[in-house]
Amino acid sequence: MILLDQFLEKSALVGNENRIMKMADFKNEFKKGDFEYINAPGFQLFFDIRAGEKGIRSALVEADFAIAETGSVVIDSSNENLRLATCLAEKLVVVFPLSKLVDSLHDVAEFLEERTSGMGGYVAFITGASRTADIERVLTVGVHGPKEMTVIIINDL
């Protein structure tokens, strides 16, 4: 599967851990208690808190799409708590079913149009941990947001 390989290559390039697994294995391995914040409606998994200044340890969220061209996940983040959690978690885990993987940036143009045509809207492309190279061009992760990111692709959905 060319798209998947392309996605994995690009996602690994930015230091993500990539996992491919079946739905059942995902349910076995990732338990509710492992995360301080969860928003994965496609998996009926929720755990809501409002992350504050101290940040949180970890967050699990579901992506609406993933883009093979760039290795990015696309997350509708108009929910403020979801946005705070993904901004402030030390470890970010993003899950999506393989069927949501698209080829190129332009494949999500319509989605962006739809999700931001109302009163408010906030969609994020996320490609790796928060990073900076502002001191001597040395790449350092976790400058404001997550220090690590894991991507889980469910291949039987």
Binding site: T70, G71, S72, E113, T116, G120, E136
Partner: protein, 715 residues
């Protein structure tokens, strides 16, 4: 401070030198990687075209954007000037009784000097981008658009942090420094009453902005505080998401060599906000004019408004690499910085910095928005040159000598006869050079100057009977000043080679300068005279297969600048256009005519690509040479980076020119080649002069001389 003093200060800054040099090398490699498998030309044409619009169109986009956000209760303010924008933002802060405003990186806010304004009003903007924050607490301004603190070392940052925090900071541990920033800045998002961001794109169809960032500070800035202010220039507008994504595709690749940044955020209007009393975000859009709107109607300068602020035109600029953004630019930096300084702050502010451009055209070929930056700079140089005057000595020389072919010829041939006591033979390669130039300032003494040829090219051409050869196959050859007065052998080598292949070579009856020295110095009037002289000296095209040049800069002038300068003279314009199409560098002519060569010795050879070969004439002899030489050919690192010559530039900004040359020489030495071939007499003058000055035994040859001495034609 005078520009020369500033330049010297930067050139003596070893840290800056190392940082910028390291960055330039790393950047080129990662950018190439990021674009792998993609067609850069196609992508940048898309961006160029989507940004190609007149004032009417931009205002349509603006009105659509405005409607889309106002309908939901957002505020839109049109700021005519930078001060208007600053005042509006200060008022929003005051009306909310807010002291702290967190900011994510915005070059537009640097343009209007927002922080200074707010601080004067007793308000506290806090930069949250790491680089910007370092500079804010150090009280400095950015030296690069994407990497603002590139001029700082870790030790310097550690010192800034420990002064600011009162904590001890390990001067080697970058990770720990980033942690400090995380800790201090985290607090600020929560104490700030307002968050301000810029926008990389503003999508008219929905009223959405796009932010392209790595650190995640823009996400927090636009999320946590109850009020969001967006400061954006009109030029960031685009029609829809397809266009916005075309920009997202190229911007990170050209900016930092990343395929995409960690975050691209698409933000629209009024989101839920727990910190806002009404439970919903208050959002303001400040659209900045500050001179932009006028230029949407300018036939040429409207190009500058296509910039997507990737910073690439600084990253690949050899002159920027020597002095950094505190000198090379002003509020905006790099090649586009020179231009925007002139457009936004006025030509007075730009007149000195414009001269620092060496004219290598690397920026024009690297810009992901397809802006021909060098030609805009060249135009602006002419504007300020005419308005403020140019170096009076140069002006005089151009007017009384170079623009008068006859006088130039007699003066230089007199020079050739009387220079004898000043010349010597360099012991390494037996070339005739000037022993010492009387009263040459020390900083200009970084290369040997070739002696004037005893007899000019034209004189030898006619005297030695090369004009007697006739054939039905004919080319016309324009020698240009360097071949005419310094390097006749290069021209004669070509003539002999072509005649052997049965091709007649004609040359102008009268030698004349192509005008580039005057254009580069900002002297349009004399440039025009020179161009007219040259045009009139060139035969019409009908009889010839090609107009050959050995100096790609002259060739580029005929192809491009001649058209600009003859616009009001239809006859000359027509001639220039016809000639322009026939301009051919000699290597290309040989390749096109399938003239085959074989090498006759075992010498290791490398090749320097002259700027104007690839970038003005679309040709490089590298493939030609490497296919003939096989394993004897060693590629030169950064072969297509400028050698630092730039004609009179090497005298005006000798220290920058010398710095650029030294890098070239380092790369040449690393190849361990015995011969460096190039096909521009200017590059030969610079590189050979530098090598001789440093007593390095690499032989520098123009392509034609190399062919004459090291290759034979095979049937």
């Amino acid at each position: 401070m005078k520009i020369q003093t500033k330049i010297d200060e930067k050139l003596n800054d070893k840290i800056l030198y190392q940082n910028l040099k390291g960055f330039a090398t790393a950047y080129k490699a990662s950018k190439e990687n990021a674009y792998k498998g993609l067609d850069f030309e196609v992508l940048r044409t898309i961006v160029h075209d989507l940004k190609d619009r007149d004032l009417n169109k931009v205002m349509q986009q603006f009105n659509q954007f405005k409607e889309n956000v106002e309908i939901h209760g957002c505020k839109v303010f049109q700021a005519k000037t930078g001060d208007d924008a600053c005042r509006y933002i200060a008022d929003v802060m005051k009306n909310h009784g807010v002291k702290y405003m967190v900011k994510s990186k915005s070059m537009t806010s640097e343009e209007i000097q927002l922080n200074q304004y707010l601080e004067k009003e007793g308000l506290s903007p806090i930069e949250t981008d790491l680089g910007e924050w370092i500079l804010q607490i150090a009280n400095e301004h950015p030296s690069h658009m994407v990497m603002p603190a590139i001029h700082k070392t870790r030790q310097q940052v550690a010192k800034i942090f420990s002064d600011y925090t009162g904590e001890e900071v390990d001067p080697e541990d970058i990770k720990a420094m980033v942690e400090i920033a995380r800790r201090f800045l985290r607090e600020s998002y929560f104490k700030a009453g307002i968050g301000m961001t810029g926008a990389n794109v503003a999508v008219a169809s929905t009223g959405t902005i796009g932010l392209i960032t790595n650190e995640g500070n823009a996400r927090l800035t636009s999320t946590v505080p109850p009020v969001h202010i967006v400061l954006v220039g009109y030029e960031k507008l685009c029609d829809n998401f397809n266009q916005a994504l075309d920009i997202v595709r190229v911007l990170p690749k050209s900016a930092t060599g990343q395929i995409i940044t960690s975050y691209v955020s698409w933000i629209k209007g009024r989101n839920i906000s727990y910190k806002n009393e009404e439970g919903i975000k208050e959002t303001h859009y400040v659209f900045l004019d500050n001179g932009r709107l006028a230029f949407f109607e300018h036939p040429k300068f409207k190009e500058a408004l296509k910039c997507i602020r990737c910073g690439s035109c600084a990253n690949i600029c050899p002159a920027y690499e020597m002095v950094g953004g505190h000198v090379y630019g002003d509020r905006y930096i790099g090649s586009i910085g020179l231009i925007l300084t002139a457009l936004y702050q006025g030509d007075e502010a730009a007149k000195d910095i414009l001269k620092m451009c060496i004219g290598c055209r690397a920026c024009s070929f690297n810009c992901p928005s397809g802006i021909d930056l060098q030609s805009l700079i060249s135009d602006l140089k002419l504007v300020v040159g005419k308005k403020y005057g140019i170096n009076p000595i140069k002006a005089k020389v151009f007017k009384t000598v170079v623009a008068k072919p006859k006088r130039m010829k007699s003066l230089l041939s007199m020079g050739a006869s009387f220079q004898f006591p000043l010349t010597t033979t360099h012991k390494l390669n037996q070339e005739k050079i000037i022993k010492m130039v009387p009263m040459l300032p020390k900083e200009m003494d970084f290369r040997k100057f070739p002696a004037l040829a005893a007899k000019t090219f034209s004189k030898r051409f006619f005297r030695e009977g090369y004009d007697q050869f006739s054939s039905h196959r004919k080319v016309f050859f324009y020698p240009g000043c360097a071949i005419e007065y310094f390097y006749p052998e290069m021209g004669l080598a070509m003539v002999k080679l072509l005649q052997k292949s049965g091709i007649q070579v004609d040359i102008p009856k009268k030698a004349a300068c192509c005008g580039i020295p005057a254009i580069a110095s900002g002297d349009p009037d004399n440039a025009k005279t020179m161009i007219f002289n040259t045009l009139d000296s060139l035969n019409n095209t009908e009889d010839y297969e090609a107009l050959l040049v050995l100096c790609p800069t002259c060739g580029g002038a005929i192809k491009h600048e001649f058209l600009d300068f003859t616009k009001e003279d239809p006859d000359r314009y027509k001639k220039a256009a016809q000639l322009g199409q026939m301009v051919t560098p000699v290597g290309k002519f040989l390749e096109d005519n399938n003239i085959k060569f074989q090498v006759i010795d075992q010498k290791k050879v490398t090749y320097h690509t002259p700027c104007h070969d690839t970038r003005s004439l679309g040709y490089s002899a590298e493939v030609f040479l490497s296919s003939i030489l096989g394993s004897q050919f060693v590629p030169l690192t950064d072969s297509n980076v400028c050698c630092g010559f730039g004609g009179t530039y090497s005298l005006d900004f000798s220290s920058i020119s010398n710095g650029i040359l030294n890098k070239k020489i380092e790369n040449i030495e690393a190849t361990e080649a015995e011969i460096l071939v190039t096909d521009c007499p200017g590059c030969v003058m610079q590189i050979n002069g530098g090598l001789m000055h440093q007593n390095k035994a690499v032989k520098v040859l123009h392509l034609t001389e190399f062919i004459e001495n090291h290759l034979i034609v095979v049937e």
